[in-house]
Symmetry: C2
Subunit: 530 residues, 2 copies
Amino acid sequence: MRPLAFTHIRFRILGLAAAAVLGLAVCRPKTTQAEKMTGLIFNYDSTDLFYFTPPEKINGHAVDDQIDLFAQAGVTVLMCNVNAQRTNYASDCFDSFWSGYDPQAGDDQPFLQDMAPQSRRGYRSMITSMKTLHEQGVDYPARVIARCRHHGISPWISLRMNDTHNNNEVRHPIHSTFWKAHPEYWRVQGRRIDYYDRTLDYSHTAVRDRFWRLIEEVLQRYDMDGLELDFMREPFLFKPGREQEGGKILAEWLQQVRKLVEQTARRRGHAIKIGVRVPAHPVTAQNLGLDAVHWAEQGWVDLIVVTPRWATMDTQMPLMQWKRMLAAYPVTLAGGLEIREQAYPDGPARIALPQTAVGTAVTVLSSGADVVYLFNYFSTLSRTVDYWPQQTWLKTLRAMSSIDTLASLSRRHLLTFHDVFAPGEATDYPLPAKGPRLFFRVTTGPKPVGRLVTAVVELTPLAGGAVEAPELSVNSELCDLQSRDQNVFTFSVAQSALQDRVQLVEVAGAGGRSIEVRQVEIAVSGATPE
Amino acid sequence: MRPLAFTHIRFRILGLAAAAVLGLAVCRPKTTQAEKMTGLIFNYDSTDLFYFTPPEKINGHAVDDQIDLFAQAGVTVLMCNVNAQRTNYASDCFDSFWSGYDPQAGDDQPFLQDMAPQSRRGYRSMITSMKTLHEQGVDYPARVIARCRHHGISPWISLRMNDTHNNNEVRHPIHSTFWKAHPEYWRVQGRRIDYYDRTLDYSHTAVRDRFWRLIEEVLQRYDMDGLELDFMREPFLFKPGREQEGGKILAEWLQQVRKLVEQTARRRGHAIKIGVRVPAHPVTAQNLGLDAVHWAEQGWVDLIVVTPRWATMDTQMPLMQWKRMLAAYPVTLAGGLEIREQAYPDGPARIALPQTAVGTAVTVLSSGADVVYLFNYFSTLSRTVDYWPQQTWLKTLRAMSSIDTLASLSRRHLLTFHDVFAPGEATDYPLPAKGPRLFFRVTTGPKPVGRLVTAVVELTPLAGGAVEAPELSVNSELCDLQSRDQNVFTFSVAQSALQDRVQLVEVAGAGGRSIEVRQVEIAVSGATPE
């Protein structure tokens, strides 16, 4: 398990020399295009390269090498993320990651003093790399974009619209001066019960203006194909209960962003798209003031990424509902994958197996999404996770552009959960579940014809300790127990039982006794032995 | 509380003389109309009139009187339900309610022998009334339709597509010969764990053919404006896990129904619409094979009624999602109200207060529905429920055609739950909820300006017994405790706290202690004192 990759961020700056490439072309670009995006969209976080490349090795070629790897992996659209609360390039409006940091001073310098001592070394290395690259005169986003164009990858800039990593440590160096200076703009006043209580409240003009300036800056400096507004870091932009009036303010603001993007597109002489990342469930998105369907209807967005936040891949995103609501509008619907897998909140979790990523991508593409979107799928996984060697990473990502290729691989369809709810929404976690007879829906995509299919369930030992094998049916057809490993039971699923899209797994306790199920999976073997 | 009205049904037959009114007009009617239905849609169950009208009082005028009352109540579309497993008229293809019954024989006659003795008297009275009306030469559906036309009410015939009341008593006289003779067509074989295990499985041709004949018959006999296929009695039409392939069979069948209806419309010389009743949640509907959005897209339906099944009014139906998915199609979206209110499954329940009906209707109309649809809102409520005197029933129903009129009345917005889930779907019951700080969303429709608004919560006594007043906020604004009645706490909600559409109610235990909330409500006073 990669220790820090998720609770923590890493990032760079660029010389002013590279800024403001003002094209003079004034032809009218087609800024809203009906063509759907295809291939594979990859979000590349602002810190990964710098966290894993020490200052003595960072340079423009290191940036290029990373993009070359994305090209090899079949990435067609790169979302180059450049910020959390700070930017990884030298911004005129945001603090850069290294603003206030002295590479020569010790770990006890004021900049680092509110950070846990054991975290300082890695963090210093990361921000030193960013600063070093900047001082070499390499403008990271511009370099990324240039190398993307070299490979025919479509380059976007992705902005995290409300990142609040480490918000329990209010003086942590990751925070912006703005955030620290204005607790009155935090979403919830006077308490921090929830991780999201300290996100910024977009109903304040000052908060919107801050992000507006960042948008202006990246549009002015970088020749992108699209601008992504990443509302999934974090999707809580308004005071609890004020999301509807907040959503109206945000909508008006987005309309202005669209205008600015269109002006820029005219200046650049080519279309610039707008993308948004929003929660998996359309009702949740709307309840949070992130009404992406309305935005599509108004023509303000070209790409909608529907995604879990972080806790797990979400294998039950209602993509068909999204697709139907968006049917009339020229937008691409992407299905987002996170790198983590977990069956229920606070349950055991791990970096997803490649087979789980494949399975979820199959689900996404067969449920209505036009394209797969990866988040946190770093090539550097190979350094920390033994089951993600680089060849596996390349092969897996290369498959993501085609449901046929994906479906030919061995894959796991895991039952997971929605990890974002608006305040007051009732949760609908399918696991763990308790009772004498339990039903679960596992979304699997097209019926796997001529493949070995198994259903796997894990039971929790209840009072008494011993766990008996349950009875298991798939789509009302009884399955044979194939093997047992402790409390994990694997059943063979006959071809005749299989259905398109979803398999209904029914688990009954032996002798009608109550059981607790804590993991459910349908596994499909590859078309050819691996 | 009305004792039998919900676990049990009541119903009639008609002389063959009235059948087959074959019009000769061949003008091309506009069978699919873009105009939305307006006013108030009322489903009138096949048994109510006969249950409450003793045989010595039943006649054509009793039927007319009932329709006159609907006219007074502002009903604009009457869904005349004529069947459960049997018909309340003399059908050529279905058993009528009284087929096999001997009015002269005693309570111990074979027809009644598997019925609980205490239920026999009421049931006999009901079916004797149906038989009596038939023997008077009055064709109930035809009489209803004629009287509707007299009043300008649009008459529809509503068919329950899979009613299985009393399915735990397999020889109960309510069951059809077909259902009793063919347990092999029951949805689940070899067991009855769930109420829905003995519904008919529509993947069998014989099952579809049975309902096809009923549709043919009513279309041939009765000059209706529309035909409603009521899939909410019961929405489980396929073997668990076979709903997707089943849904395809059903879709093909619906296409044939549409053709038949169009042929009939041409013969009659006027449009005949098709309506369907489906579960509140579009994902659930789709997962059950009741893919109403697809049906609309194909032009097979003109009216979609989104509704809870029975347990409670559902105050959180995602109508905006339905509206958006249906935006491109010429269908009316109706929001269904049931007559029961309940905060959580197996919790205390009652016949809804009129104010709850008003509140839910406001919610429905302001959430995206074109029109309100009432089910089980019998005028005979006044005989059994003291808070539904006839004047209240009339006033409440009359208000249902207009959100402005509704919103001027005093109303209650209760937090309830979805009462239908497809097999394996995880439930999302918001109540009861336990913890030190709890959030609830109460859908209220337009912001109630200039009205007295209160938030009401009921707490469960936890270990220790005494219940302290909690702290309550609405949309992050603290509210003053106004009164306490045992464990029910009423708070005043300031105008400044109120939002459009939804109020977020936050309840925190005194001193940060854990509480259990089991009922949440927002009450709005009427525009004028009542």
